[in-house]
Symmetry: C2
Subunit: 756 residues, 2 copies
């Protein structure tokens, strides 16, 4: 049956939950109100580094409506890693619900639960805390010095050191005709989710805890809560309501532990919703990083090896940092015979860095793609050709999961470059520059990237359950976490395609740890590939049962039947047919009384990387330093677009975030106190609709043989190559390379001054 | 592994959701409030039989806050059968959301949705309805006359006629030495659920309808809604929150159609909760019935045959009536070589009769057991011995599903009689009567019953899904509908027993049509037997996966392993073991990345009847006619008590309802208008705690080979033999037989007067 044309997959359906969101019918966590619900508020540290000597909550007794106050003295003190990583090797458990030490300006000190928000807000101001101030350090290079104050202990004071090597780097440099060296500096940015972080915890009389909120990883959240609250998983339910964004900053335990403790103390539901200000420092940010490349290359443009040094600012706690830094090294679309990495994950007294769309890839891709651009220019090779020459090829070892021994089954990088260049008119734009004026210069740039379709280092996995209704319509149970990206729609399309149904026939019940089968959650661009494969297999399990019944009912062989458009019919005689409803009805209410339930647990046998090439045209104003992005053509090897409209939406959204990353967004900290200075949308500049250039996504379908209908991940890849393509275009326009992000007017003017 | 002793099944755990109920934490439908929820109210007919000539809702325009008004003119007019039965043969589809004709005092005329309850209440009084009054008929025997007004058309005007015969009744009478004849009259009673009937319907922007409420049969409710609203099942979700009772009156479509239409009209959630008064006439009642027995018997007490005539008052609509009347005939614990039945289901202008704990069995058992008592006395046979002589035996055809050819695998009726008699001291009580005074006389009586463990006439079925958490705890998805009876607890015990877990390790997610796999719902005493069998098989499926993993991990053969108390261990060396958590963790996070999911769809291969014998001691006051029940000993062949405390609770609750049925409860109708006269707990007399006698349940465990751990149904059987045992005891005390229910003081005094 595999050969019939696809009817649902590949179609641009609107998001199945889109209308509810657009009409305001969707209830987000912030909209939820449980009976007798209390409101919580977290007291945060006004110091970047301090020991709590005394917490005096006696004044709270005079404020009616306060139901509980918690701090390190009265909650379980079990260390955890917010990313849910085990505490061994390079990772560490160094966070607590509350600790006696605070490690950044904004760190958790205490929390209250009160009958309303105002009372909670007032209450935290009545808590007297006596601190012993400690020296603080914000700069990662300073933090590495012996005399620096100790924030955490990793594999050394303030540092987790991650070395890695393939081949022999010295040989790589010996084989090279030239060696190039560059250093890039990447800045802290925030995910800026539309919905602020919010959790509600409720507890019933048997001690069962239910947590609702903005998590990308309900199963991880439950596992960590189980560990820190010492409750069995049967006593914890984590529910993911619709979420207004995630982008990685919800891929860890957030304040679930705090609301859970307040609920357990009061016996009542408690909600804590972050203010926009809190959001900026209390949820995780993209790692600031310093990345140096030293690269050997032959005269013909063949890369022979590179040494890469990464200094990543972890902020105060371990969280995702070591895994992120360890895996970013492998998100590289080029063949490198000899490579050596040294990465330093450095603790500082700043807010936590964590996962953010790309998971380290935007940082290393900015460095690598700018660096390659400089090399190509020096060697007088076209930027496209240097990339084509060195690109990975089908059959090469898949660097994402090197230890698994997997090889690449698909690689559309050259097609991305060629198709993008054609549509962008790369040749024409490069040669025939059309400056607007003597001040406003135009330039074009290109950059590539390779990302992933699931977990690196081990095999990813997911499960799904399919339940057929008597009329043939179907419920799908999956823990794939839709954060707004549309995974519910993609999963419905995959199930509908297999079962011969319409997309509206599929009800998607997603992400409730007591209901939906195990899935890792939303990260690593894994939902379409990993969860999609699980859904496809569960649907195939159900389909086999359907076809078996239909064959008996029609007195035909199973292999002679086809399933499409709500019918099961004989391939050679499509008028001999049964509706799916007729078949399920017969199975369910006929003599067999059999209910069609499909299930699957899927273990990935590969992690096919999506590839992309992004072409950008900019205008740079030499007088003001302003960069304006005019047009972005971004070609993506997505394997197969399950839903082209949503896939293009992912690309457009990623480009939007990539432009902000490149040009305008940056978190600023007070240099003395580490306080976040621009924790609002006045001073933190995300691009607005007026800042959007013409965006032209191109979908390259390489049909990866391991993907569901050929699909690979696409959630993160769109953002990654935007900033370097802009930086390369800026260089093309004005001849100066800005090696630190964001590319501000000040930096451009200063660089132009230096150049003279 | 079958041989290890049971560790969880057979233990008297408290209800897993009991503490939440006791502390008020449980949210019933009446407690639920959705954002922007409207309140609905139904306008009801003030006439027993009328045609609506005109409905004028224009006055509602002057009342702000009214959001919708619906009646037969503006809702889909699709006929349905509220019990969800197909419309063929003996059953009919004769109900509508609203019809132009009203058929009983209280029938639905229109409904409104408004911003609050008071406005809704005010609004229905502003609707002007012009009726054309029609003649009404309330008495079923009158309704059978040619000149009676036509309420409905069945297989004849106002009647559905159901004949049935086994053997040759004439031969049965020929073989008899004696023939006895009696006529019994049973009255209307109400289930009196603690929680009033309530439904909330919500609709989202895609037109998806979600209905929450007091239903025993979420899947039936969805199926009927799908039919009458012409929506696919994917657009309807029916959720059963915790329910405060059901007892059968929620085993049909209630006002789901009305709230659904109001939600669809307004685009907002709408709740309609019945008042206690409404509850009495708008939800279904136990069929009033007239049952005659003509029985042939040999001198030695062997029954040779009987002719039974049943006249059941259906009320205004078909609903459950024909199936109930058809199946009650077979709930008979005795061997009857020749039997003939004639049943008349008669429509009248009274509120609908429907399912009520026992489903016709209390009526026929009252008649049969009183009748047998009279025969035994006439033949001078002990009441116990006449029952033992004629009882069904293992290997006899199972009369419940005669067409399936199933035979009885267990029958503990004689054990029930013997054990009950022993504990009751039957011999002593019968001979040595201890009257309290000349006025207050004591008497003892016995009655038997046979009920069922699932659907009659066809094979029952259910499905279940088991999902193991990483720490070995488990979620169970089942559509078994817990109405307070404790099925969630029984299912948890069955799953825990199979999986070697504690009962608190099992999370039960029950009854949500978009989530839980198909199950018929709660009726026919089917949950423990049918759903329990599905749960057991799903757990066995998961267990097999667990044991396979553990065998590999321990390097042992699967058959050498045992599972108990959260461990999997080697039978001969219990120190060689793994916790379930270790096994699931290895499966899930180890090299296989395999998630343990169990599933099963179960088709019943029998319908084992539970049997019971109830012994009652009463005091009758000859001056006042008052009957006081002193003590009830009730022995029940339950197969196996999954949870003895809950099983005994079922028996105690059933006896309580049985005493009300026998002595005090009765709905009274106005003889002119058919209005329910005593629709409140002042005038409708349910027994109170002071009225409760000493109750001694005896559990007889016959371990039915087809039951889960041997269990059979127990939900309904406890009520059935109470009333006849009381009637027989009253006769024993004062020598008069009251052949109509309830046994009131007036009837007793009149009978004593007649006797002289």
């Amino acid at each position: 049956m595999e050969e019939r044309e696809l009817l649902v997959v590949g179609q641009s359906f609107s998001k199945i939950d889109g209308l509810n969101m657009a009409t305001g019918k969707t209830l987000y966590t912030a909209d939820m109100k449980l009976p007798r619900m209390l409101y919580g508020k977290i007291l945060r540290s006004p110091h970047p580094h301090a020991l709590i000597k005394r917490i005096d909550t006696s004044k709270l007794k005079r404020l009616s409506g306060v139901k509980a106050v918690i701090n390190y003295e009265n909650v379980p003190r079990v260390p955890y890693n917010s990313a849910g990583l085990p505490s061994y090797g390079i990772s560490r458990h160094d966070e607590y619900i509350f600790d006696q030490k605070v490690r950044f300006h904004g760190d958790r000190v205490a929390a209250v639960a009160a009958v309303d928000k105002d009372t909670a807000e007032e209450a935290i101001h009545l808590i007297d805390v006596e601190y012993e101030l400690l020296d603080a350090v914000f700069d990662p290079e300073e933090a590495l010095r012996p005399e620096a104050p100790e924030v955490q202990t990793g594999t050394g004071k303030n540092v987790i050191y991650i070395p890695y090597a393939v081949g022999d780097i010295e040989k790589g440099f010996q084989e090279a005709d030239d060696v190039f060296e560059d250093r890039y500096v990447m800045h802290p940015v925030h995910t800026c989710c539309m919905e602020p972080t919010a959790f509600i915890a409720d507890v019933d009389s048997s001690g069962k805890l239910t947590v609702y909120g903005t998590t990308q990883v309900p199963n991880h959240s439950r596992r960590i809560l189980s560990q820190i609250l010492k409750l069995p998983m049967s006593k914890i339910r984590v529910v993911k309501p619709p979420i207004g964004g995630g982008f990685g900053s919800r891929q860890n335990l957030q304040h679930e532990g705090v609301v859970a403790m307040l609920a357990l103390k009061t016996g009542l539901p408690v909600k804590i919703e972050y203010s926009r200000e809190e959001e900026f420092f209390a949820s995780t940010i993209r790692h600031p990083a310093i990345i140096s490349f030293r690269t050997g290359i032959k005269r013909d443009g063949t890369l022979t090896g590179w040494y890469v040094k990464v200094i990543a600012n972890a902020g105060a706690y371990t969280g995702h940092t070591p895994v992120l830094v360890q895996t970013l090294l492998h998100k590289n679309p080029y063949r490198i015979p000899h490579e050596k990495y040294e990465a330093y994950c450095v603790y500082t007294n700043l807010p936590n860095s964590g996962a953010f769309r790309g998971y380290g890839n935007p940082q290393i891709s900015f460095a690598r793609e700018c660096h390659l651009d400089r090399i190509a220019e020096a060697l007088k090779i076209d930027p496209i050709e240097i990339r084509v020459k060195n690109k990975l090829r089908v059959g090469d070892v898949n660097p994402l999961n090197r230890s698994m021994g997997w090889t690449l089954d698909s690689c559309g990088l050259e097609e991305c470059l060629r198709a993008g260049a054609r549509q962008f008119e790369w040749e024409k734009k490069r040669s025939g520059r059309k400056n607007r004026s003597a001040e406003i210069l135009r330039g074009v740039g290109v950059a590539c990237m390779m990302h992933l379709s699931g977990q690196t280092m081990s095999a990813d996995c997911s499960s799904a359950i399919i339940k057929l209704n008597e009329d043939g319509t179907t419920a799908l149970l999956t823990s794939a976490a839709d954060l707004g990206q549309g995974s519910n729609t993609a999963m419905a399309q995959i199930a509908a395609e297999v079962l011969g149904l319409k997309v509206e026939d599929i009800v998607v019940m997603a992400s409730d740890t007591d209901i939906t089968p195990f899935d890792m959650g939303t990260y690593a661009s894994r939902q379409t590939y990993v969860s999609g494969n699980a859904v496809k297999r569960a649907a195939e399990d159900a389909k086999a049962q359907l076809v078996k019944y239909a064959a008996t009912m029609l007195s035909e062989k199973e292999e002679d039947l086809e399933i499409a458009d709500r019918w099961i019919y004989v391939k050679d005689n499509s008028q001999k047919r049964l509706s799916l409803g007729e078949v399920v009805n017969e199975a369910q209410y006929g003599k067999d009384r059999y209910h069609i339930l499909g299930k699957a647990t899927f273990k990935a046998s590969n992690n096919p990387p999506p590839f992309a090439a992004t072409f950008t045209e900019v205008e740079v104003n030499r007088e003001t330093g302003t960069v304006k992005v005019l047009r972005v053509v971004s070609a993506h090897d997505v394997g197969k677009a399950i839903n082209p409209k949503l896939t293009e939406g992912q690309i457009e959204g990623g480009i939007f975030q990539g432009i902000g990353y490149a040009l305008t967004e940056e978190i600023h900290y007070d240099s003395k106190t580490g306080r976040t200075l621009n924790a609002d949308f006045f001073d933190y500049k995300i691009p607005c609709s007026q800042d959007m250039p013409v965006i032209e996504p191109i979908l390259i379908e390489t049909l990866d043989p391991t993907g569901p209908f050929g699909a690979k991940g696409v959630g993160e890849s769109s953002l990654i190559s935007v900033a370097p393509s802009i930086a390369n275009a800026v260089y093309d326009a004005i001849g100066v390379r800005i090696k630190s992000l964001p590319i501000t007017g000040e930096k451009i003017l200063e660089a132009l001054r230096e150049k003279g």
